[in-house]
């Protein structure tokens, strides 16, 4: 029996010629990641276990992105713990304020992760790097500590769901709509413990930013990882960024999948997820007109340059509706600078948006846009759980950058097709 793409990467990193779903293996890690929330807990575990060295200072990434620039004294203490650990072991890929970006936009951009890698990160959206053809999954702080000490971790080899993409997305429809549609189809535990393997002729028509958004939210379907095949676009993206050798893995023709799901990109419509689960999806046309108080455009899901371009195309020459706060957060310094060079930042500011330095901030109700009781946001983020962006009685509606921007202008949920652009 053949192997899926994920299984092949895991087998290669475990030094095995073959693995099958359900096998427990120990695999070598190419990158171990942590942030300002999870690294301090990992440091505590690492020190208590008595470890005195890291396995490879070049293969650990510590990114202070969640509460930075520090929102309060407690957050500053967390950053200090992570910063001192990075200094103690001379961690190569350490990113602090001024250089920091949201980790899952930053690591691909800096070429720290690439095709064929086996990556763990103490952040659930670590699955993002599957867009590059890597096996990448979120873990907790103890796993991060173990990974930093030994360079290995244990995995249960996942079975897979094959997601066949057909056709090509229409204008104003993006990777975010694809993944929200998929989660709506299979549910928030539809891929529990499994891989989501994206295949089909529709893949080549997706931009890398679309693929990052899709792989990023694999976790919202419960998946262990989401993964895309490596193609010309992937190679063009990693060229001049990724300096380690590229390893291309392909699923075997006779690989076994638990289930096959087909998504027709041609007919896909802008999609949103209503509170309080990412699977609670509707097309934007079904819920147009719901009043909103806030819009957030950013996050590890949708803070890349393609996302800002999509939002700016709608906001150009328009104003954010009275009574609505629109917060735009470029995911990295490189995206921020590019946004300035292209005139996007000017468009946002002239429209009445607040443009922030890179941070996860409001996505997890950390800072830079928490909501009061009874308020509702349209956000390009990834979770709409109870209390996610602030008060327990506030609401988050997940959407693409185009829908978020259109909603900011309308002051209510709106379709980008109803905007004059």
């Amino acid at each position: 029996m053949g192997m899926t793409m994920t299984q092949k990467i895991l087998a290669a990193h475990a030094g095995l010629s073959a693995v099958k779903a359900g096998d427990l293996i120990e695999a070598k890690l190419d990158i171990v990641l942590g942030n300002d929330v999870t690294t301090p807990v990992a440091v505590d575990v690492f020190d208590k276990a008595g470890f005195t060295r890291v396995f490879d200072k070049d293969k650990i990434a510590i990114v202070l992105d969640h509460y930075t620039p520090c929102k309060d004294i407690k957050s500053a203490e967390l950053c200090k713990t992570a910063r001192e650990f990075a200094k103690r072991f001379d961690i190569t890929h350490f990113y602090d304020v001024g250089a920091v970006g949201i980790e899952h936009a930053l690591l691909p951009e800096k070429g720290i992760v690439g095709p064929g890698d086996c990556i763990i990160g103490a952040d659930s959206h670590t699955c993002t790097y599957g867009a590059l053809g890597a096996f990448s999954t979120g873990v907790g702080s103890t796993d991060m500590a173990a990974g930093m000490a030994t360079g290995e971790n244990w995995f249960k080899v996942p079975s897979a769901i094959k997601v066949v993409l057909k056709g090509k997305l229409q204008p104003f429809v993006s990777g975010k709509d694809v993944i929200l549609h998929l989660i709506g189809m299979i549910g928030v535990d539809g891929a529990l413990y499994k891989s989501l393997e994206f295949v089909g002729e529709g893949v080549s028509a997706l931009t890398m930013d679309d693929r990052f958004s899709i792989a990023n939210m694999a976790i919202e379907a419960g998946a262990k990882n989401g993964i895309f095949p490596v193609d010309e676009q992937t190679m063009a993206y990693v060229k001049d960024r990724f300096t380690r050798p590229v390893r291309v893995f392909e699923a075997d023709a006779d690989a076994e999948y638990e289930r096959e799901v087909i998504i027709d990109l041609d007919t896909l419509k802008p999609t949103v997820a209503l509170p309080h689960l990412p699977s609670n999806t509707k097309t934007v046309d079904e819920v147009k007109g719901m009043p909103i108080d806030q819009v957030v455009i950013g996050s590890c899901t949708n803070g890349r340059i393609g996302d800002l371009r999509a939002a700016a195309a709608i906001l150009k020459g328009k104003k954010v509706a009275k009574g609505v706060r629109c917060i735009v957060i470029p995911a990295t310094e490189e995206v921020y600078l590019q946004s300035i060079k292209e005139g996007l930042t000017q468009i946002f500011i002239e429209a009445g948006c607040a443009v922030s330095t890179p941070t996860c901030g409001p996505c997890l109700g950390g800072h830079m846009g928490c909501m009061a009781a009874g308020e509702r946001a349209v956000a390009t983020t990834n979770r709409n759980f109870v209390g996610r962006m602030g008060h327990v009685k506030s609401e988050v509606i997940l959407a693409s950058p185009a829908v978020a921007a259109a909603s900011a202008v309308a002051g209510a949920i709106a379709s980008p097709y109803d905007m004059e652009v």
Binding site: A49, S124, V188, I219, G222
Partner: protein, 164 residues
């Protein structure tokens, strides 16, 4: 053996309700425990007693990778969690910190809030003392049992290294 009163929740209990992100800037177990479950059950922290048992539905612990979630539940006094299924990162995190979890759809469906429950985690036997029903949890693979027997992933790795 664990013995206590059941606190019952539904499907998809996410890590943001187990411990909201607004409290993650103070990661001591005692601080986290003060706010455990408060966004869906304000009475939990007031009512929970040492040894009590938490029961959830499908996909318990979905969402963020925060290890603060099982740490908060354990520090609140809960001795173990029974659910129909666990989200995979929560599952790993609980095992890695040596916190007992049991996967048992029947027990998750049948146990009600306030029922007296005893759990033999080693044998995977769950008994509802209020109704007399007995349930059997899905056994862990042997490898995971070794991590649990060592008290978590790090002690397991340290002992493994020492044994080489």
């Amino acid at each position: 053996m664990y013995q206590g009163t059941a606190f019952k929740y539904g499907d998809n209990v996410d890590t943001d309700v187990i411990i909201p992100a607004r409290y993650l800037n103070a990661p001591s177990a005692e601080e986290l425990a003060k706010h455990c479950m408060e966004d869906i059950d304000v009475d939990f922290v007031k009512e929970v007693k040492k040894g009590d048992i938490m029961v959830g539905g499908e996909n318990f612990g979905c969402g963020s990778s925060r290890e603060h979630a099982p740490i908060a539940i354990r520090a609140s006094g809960i001795s173990c969690v029974i659910a129909a299924s666990f989200a995979r990162i929560f599952y790993r995190n609980a095992i890695n910190i040596g916190f007992p979890i049991l996967e048992c759809p029947e027990a998750a469906a049948r146990i009600k809030k306030g029922d007296a429950v005893t759990v033999d985690a080693d044998k995977g036997i769950i008994k509802n003392e209020t109704t007399g029903e007995v349930f059997h949890a899905t056994p862990f693979p042997a490898f995971i049992n070794r991590i649990i027997e060592n008290g978590g992933l790090l002690p397991y790795l340290v002992n493994k290294e020492a044994g080489k």
